[in-house]
Symmetry: D2
């Protein structure tokens, strides 16, 4: 059984983090320019009070998964709530509870912040993800609209 | 034809705004305590740089509809994006383009802020709303999960 | 208040029925050849024991709506069940309960046949239809797949 | 690699077929009385021209999966179409292409009958099934309503 450690993302993780976020973005068939890698990483590791990230590492400190979160206001609440935006597990580490452990870390972080609400979006046909989300989360009736580009 | 004016919500609107937000919350079968009315209204009218609201008024200045927005960070973007959280038209004013005008005002506001993205959630069976949203927005494949209470 | 009569479709209705089915098919962005108009009408009006149709007429006998049904076997039941395939109300007659009356006629027909189950499919974004179906029917969790063409 | 044979269900299969259908029904949290086991099996194995079934067997003739089909009229078509109602793979045989082979057998059967259309329903959250159906079928926009019980 491989050890699994969940910890905050820190500035020294820049090189190890990049390929995971790259592959996450590729899953959603998108890319972002280098300046967004730089800016988002800086914000997630202390540069923006509303952003936080956690990493799952294995026995050798190798990166198994990452999660990015964003706090934001909510009209129905006094406190900010947490939007879990990006979640990724490296393919070789799937089935070992990495994503579940990262989501549970976000829940613990929410509790530590007093955030009353954690939410995320997923593609309707992200079946592998939803098998987990149905266990650790609750699907409500909401669907998402966006402004047309 | 009734005149329709869209403008920012301002502190003097407190009394006129309250029943619309009350009825909006009732549509979603919820209520919030008085302190949240106070805090959210204060934040929407200048108290929080991430929050903004617009109101649609008729010929006599009567309130026909309201919309509340929240800016937040987004990992894929340099700029903040806009979450359109609450949108309500009073029943007697429906079918007159109030909601469409409010959404278009949010789009103009997003442009003025340089916000690259506007998004919102709606219940899958909010048919009346979706008839409009399919015209002014784009439904993507995303569904929403939340942390269980 | 216009009178509304629901009755079985009969061979003499051929000319009055055709434009309604045409417009129904146009709603689903499809057309069928003349031979299918002929064959389906013949089957619906006595030519096939598994098929039946009902028409809603107004004060002058004008056609306001139609519904087509198909009986079929069901592995879980002894009796055949009823598939409500086509349902259409002419635009000028909408909002007068035509579709509801036609569905209720199908329910009565099902009862007369001993059919334990009536089901139908609709497009997820057929909002006007679903406003009615949510009242007279029950949406289950099922979605439809087809063999690729 | 275990051999996989797909063939028609025949009367001698009664005992081997029953537990698979039982477990399929249990997946949908339902049961049916003994008379429906008898009647449906008889209809599927020659007793009803509109019904057919196929079985997947392994090296020893053990039952790995079953599929039940029903032909029915369709207003838009001259020919009957095929409704694939029940599909089940025993848990120990999953991941070996049993369900795919059964669906492909149904497609070949449809071709042999001249049936222009094969369709089926599945629960929106049947993720394991949909991983396959997205490959061998096409999800359209349709959802299912039923008459309330």
């Amino acid at each position: 059984m491989t050890a699994l450690l969940i910890r905050s993302l820190v500035p020294a993780d820049r090189a190890a983090w990049e390929p995971l976020w790259h592959d996450y973005l590729a899953f959603y068939k998108t890319t972002v320019p280098a300046e967004i890698y730089d800016m988002t990483f800086a914000r997630l590791t202390g540069g923006d009070a509303d952003m936080a990230a956690f990493v799952a590492t294995g026995a050798n400190g190798d990166f198994l998964g990452i999660v990015h979160t964003i706090q934001h206001r909510h009209c129905w609440k006094i406190e900010k709530v947490i939007y879990l935006q990006d979640l990724f597990t490296v393919p070789a580490a799937r089935g070992r509870g990495v994503a579940r452990a990262l989501i549970e870390k976000v829940y613990a972080y929410a509790d530590s912040m007093g955030a009353p609400h954690v939410h995320w979006l997923t593609a309707e046909d992200n079946y592998a993800g939803r098998m987990l989300y149905d266990k650790v989360g609750r699907r409500g009736p909401f669907i998402r609209y966006t402004r047309p580009l």
